[in-house]
Each structure stands twice: as structure tokens, then as C-alpha cells.
Subunit: 328 residues, 2 copies
């Protein structure tokens, strides 16, 4: 294992301390229990958005804490769910007396712990479960589809609505609607390596790729020979469109996301290929995002996310956001 | 070689096409010859900033084209200087009749071609040569020190000055001053792989790192055993401080830059370690930047850059910027 770290047990604490110091104008980092909150919150009367999940997917979720997006994020250990005490402490810190919306990626551990926190919370809690990964139905850590990079689209759009004063019920309905309009699928060229494990999560040959890989290295649809960027784009866009069923002429958001170890040049090249695929299906790529947003540590690979847009969700996507990793 | 590409010969063109389509609100991409310009330019009476260099260091430089930073960037083939015809075409496209400032990283090919373009240009041209890499004096592709991630600090600060109306002579003086106040040094845990080569640029053992590596995989100061993040930070900060000689109490900008293959978690962890090193020397980390900004394709590793700040350069760093990769 080659990583820029000190002791394996200190990786998360030291990375969070660095994140907090680098973005002290935007966020406060609490280390015991671990959570990240907006420095300018809570705001009385605003629905508070809370997300979280295992670490190793940075910038998801802490990089999206700030104005117009999340009020708090709870990072678990690497690839491990955060605990209910983290969620409760974060919820108390962001509570503006208008309810808490939990945005939870569909993994068994996260679902269970966020449910427990919701039951124990003293304020009203609603939950949006994201399950945008069209690759497989059940997986190693999930019943039903996994929540992956499409979660960012949900967080951005619902975050904008909450900032504009939408109430808890409206935020919940909107989040479910955006999740249903969003599909993602990934490929891995290499495995990630979890610091505490010290060895790659899975073995993969020099000429192979994992099609439909999960963000923890979970198996996807199939192990295939490495194919071209154009063929990757066609396969992923095809699988996503079968799920979210956009109609010709529909505006879509196209997110090409790096898994952590692939350079920007390859992500923009894949974006070009994916956009061509969308256009050949009559879709209008109305909004775009390219970069490392929902990663899997040092895995080489990328995912494609498509989200069907409507007038209101487009305006909410465009609304101001001020976080460490999304800002406009 | 495992990369998300189609034909090796099409990598740059397809990546640029993707970049242009993803950021069509900000930039225009010309493919023959290849250059990227601000969509809202040229502005009459404004000094135009032109940079460029071999591709493979993304987002440098095209990701920094936009308001408050570069007016144009010329991407060469991977790790290969752009040609004078690219520079001349870009200069003509951005000329606002107030002169062109070229910002050039110190590599023999870039220096030669930018000099040739300056001689052929029909407008007044000044050049700032960046050489912030404190690792080694001469290198494979440079006489004197190499220009690396500190170039971004020069581009941001001089870009803001030009936006505010500074003339060509003032921009040149400012750029040289910022360059002299800035030092960088990198470590590599793995080699990059150039698409056209198909194999890693250099061999490195499982327990080894290259201390002071260049952004093309050039040798650094020494090949050592992998050391801890704290030890890396101490070694790099020490080498940089010996060069730029900040005094106790000085405000500095701290940039922790990923080389392309290292995840955000490791970069923030290294930022934490580097910040601790700065503070132990009595320095005040007044501004920070953490992420992949000056990369070496898929190389795992990171660089640290320190830049001594003064009141004017701090204000220019804080001035609005609107590019694909820096925005505030």
C-alpha cells in the first residue's frame, strides 16, 4: 500500500482536521463525534439537510456542506457507516426548528443507522434514500440499488429548495422525485485500497475492467476486457436510459465523475463521448459537471450520471451554492 | 496501460472538445491550432494573459482561463510544448491593445517556443518565467529550476491585477515578484503513464518514493523509502523555506496539490501536516488551496507550494475569479 498517511488509525481524523482548517471560512469540523457543519448555520425556520456515509468518497459529503446544499455531513470510518450518535449530534447542531431532511445512500448500514437516529431525534425527520446506481439490483452492502454520484444532484437541488424556504414535506417530495429521475453507472480500471486493509479490495487483470462497479469496489454487472471510452459511454448511457427513460428532446444533466485515480483528461474525454451518446438519442445536455465528486479512494475509473431536468429543478441546480467543492 | 481513451492520437482533441462543451459558458476551444480563450474576451485596454504548456497537467492551464485569471491557454501534446503558431493565434484572439503577458513554466521547449512567438507577435509581449520547483537546479527538460504548481499562484494574482487595469509593465513586475516569493516541491509514489508511450515513465518499487519529482516524472533529489505524511511535509516545507526564506510571523499561502492519482483524503491529510509544519516555524497560513491543480496524468503523489503574501498580493488572490477550476 502506497499512501500519503501517518498511522492508519489517524487517517480520518487528520484528513478532517485538514479539511476544517483549509475551509474554516465555510465549515466547522467536530472531531468527537465526527461531523461537519456550515459555519453560518443554523438558520431559524430553514429545513436542515443532513447527509453522511462512509469516508473514502471525498468530496462526498463534507465537500458539499455550505450555503445552498448540505447543513451537515457525518463521515464514518473508511467505507463504514457513521453512527447514530454522530447523526444526532449533527442534527442538534443544525436544527432550525423546521425539521431535518436526511439524505441517505442506500447501503444497509447507513439505512439502519440513519433510521435509528431519526427515531431518537427530538425534531421532525424525513429521509430521502438515493439509489441511482442502475448497475445491479442487490449488492454486497445493499438491498435494492446502491446510492452513488446521483446523490450529489439530489443534495444540490434539494439544498437550493431548502435555502429558498421549501418546507420539510416539499423537500422530501422533491428529493424523491430527483432521485427517481437520476441514474448512474461506473467502471473501474483498478481497485481501491482501504488503508486499514492495506491491500487492494479486489484483483483485476491488466487488460480488464469491472463494468458497473460499486463505490466500495463491489462487483458490477461483469468483468470484461478493457473497452474504448466510446464503448464505455455507450454501455453506461444505454443502461442509464433504460432506467430513467428520458424522451427525445428532454433536457438532462450529465455528470462525469472520477473515482479518484483517473486524471481530468480522461474524464473530459469520457464526457465528450457520453455527450455524443446523449445527443445521438435526441437528448439535450442542458447542464454538465465533470470531476472527482463521488470517489472510491484511489480507484481508477469513472461513472456517468444522467438526471432528467424540468424547469424547476434546472433553476434549483443553477441557484447559488457555496461549498468547498461546488461553488457558483 | 489502463486509460479511459479511444485512439492514442485522439486523446488531446477529444479531451479538449469535452472541456469546451462542459464549460461553454466560460470558454471557447479552438482545435486547429489548439487554444482555449475566454468567451467574454477580448476586453479593449486590458493586458491579456497567455499561458500554456504540455498537456497532462490538467486543470493547468485551460482550467484557469476566465475572468480574473488567464485570457488564453495553449495546450501542447502530452508533456510536449505547444508551438508558436498556437501561441500567435491565441494572442491574436485575446489582444486588447494593451499588450500580452506570457506566463511560461521554465522548460527548454516552452521557453524557446514562447520566445519565438513573442518575436513574431504584432503586439507588445512581456514574459514571466516561473521556476518555483526548489527540488533541483537543472533537470531533464530545464536549465535552472522547473516551473510547477506555483505557476497557478502567479496566474491568479497577476490575472486579478490585469482585470483591475494594471498595465503590461506592472503585470510583468508583479509576476516576477510573486514567482520569487513562491516555492514548491513534490513527491511521487507511482509513475505517470504517457498515453503515446503506453508504459510507466519510470520504475519505482513498492516501498519507494521519489522525493522532489518533476511533473513529467523527472528525477528529483533522491529515491527514498516511503516515509510518513508528517515526514514528507517536514522535508518539503523545510526545502521550500530554505529557498523563499519566510520570516516568523509572515503570512503565507499554502497550496497542497495532488499529482492526479492521489485521493482528496490524502491531500487534506498532507495539508494538515504541512500546516502544522508552517505553524511550528511561526508562519501564518493566511490562504489555502487543496486539490488537483497541477497534475502529472495519473501519478500518485502530491506537491506543497508556499508563497509569501503581502497586503496587495493577498487582496489580488481574494479578488473574484471565474474559471472552470477556480471560482470565487
Amino acid at each position: 500500500m502506497k499512501k500519503i498517511i501517518n498511522a492508519v488509525d489517524d487517517v480520518l481524523t487528520e484528513a478532517l482536521a485538514g479539511f476544517g482548517a483549509a475551509h474554516a471560512d465555510l465549515v466547522s469540523v467536530n472531531l468527537n463525534p465526527k461531523y461537519v457543519v456550515r459555519r453560518d448555520g443554523p438558520r431559524q425556520g430553514k429545513v436542515a439537510l443532513l447527509s453522511g456515509g462512509g469516508s473514502g468518497h471525498e468530496p462526498l459529503h463534507a465537500g458539499f456542506v455550505g450555503k445552498g446544499m448540505l447543513d451537515a455531513a457525518c463521515p464514518g470510518e473508511v467505507f463504514t457507516s457513521p453512527t447514530p450518535d454522530q447523526m444526532l449530534a449533527a442534527a442538534a447542531a443544525i436544527d432550525g426548528d423546521a425539521g431535518i431532511l436526511q439524505i441517505v445512500k442506500n447501503y444497509a448500514g447507513d439505512v439502519m443507522n440513519f433510521e435509528m437516529a431519526a427515531e431518537m431525534a427530538e425534531t421532525e425527520v424525513a429521509t430521502v434514500l438515493t439509489n441511482d446506481d442502475v448497475a445491479v439490483e442487490d449488492s454486497l452492502h445493499s438491498q435494492g440499488r446502491r446510492g452513488v454520484a446521483g446523490t450529489i444532484v439530489v443534495e444540490k437541488i434539494v439544498g437550493a429548495a431548502a435555502e429558498q424556504g421549501a418546507d420539510l414535506a416539499a423537500c422530501k417530495v422533491l428529493g424523491d422525485r430527483v432521485n427517481a429521475a437520476t441514474g448512474s453507472m461506473a467502471v473501474a480500471l483498478t481497485s481501491c485500497t482501504v488503508p486499514a486493509a492495506g491491500t487492494p479490495t479486489f484483483a483485476i487483470g491488466e487488460g480488464e475492467m469491472e463494468l458497473g462497479v460499486g463505490i466500495h469496489g463491489e462487483p458490477g454487472r461483469e468483468r470484461t476486457a478493457l473497452i474504448s471510452a466510446d464503448a464505455i459511454a455507450e454501455t453506461l448511457v444505454d443502461a442509464i436510459c433504460k432506467s430513467i427513460e428520458p424522451q427525445s428532446g428532454d433536457p438532462v444533466l450529465l455528470l462525469v465523475n472520477g473515482m479518484g485515480g483517473s486524471p481530468a483528461m480522461e474524464l473530459y474525454l469520457l464526457y465528450h463521448a457520453a455527450r455524443t451518446q446523449c445527443e445521438s438519442r435526441g437528448l439535450t445536455v442542458a447542464r454538465s459537471l465533470v470531476g472527482n465528486y463521488c470517489t472510491s479512494l484511489d480507484m481508477a475509473g469513472a461513472s456517468i450520471t444522467l438526471s432528467r431536468l424540468s424547469d424547476d429543478t434546472t433553476a434549483l441546480w443553477d441557484a447559488p451554492v457555496h461549498t468547498a467543492s461546488l461553488r457558483w
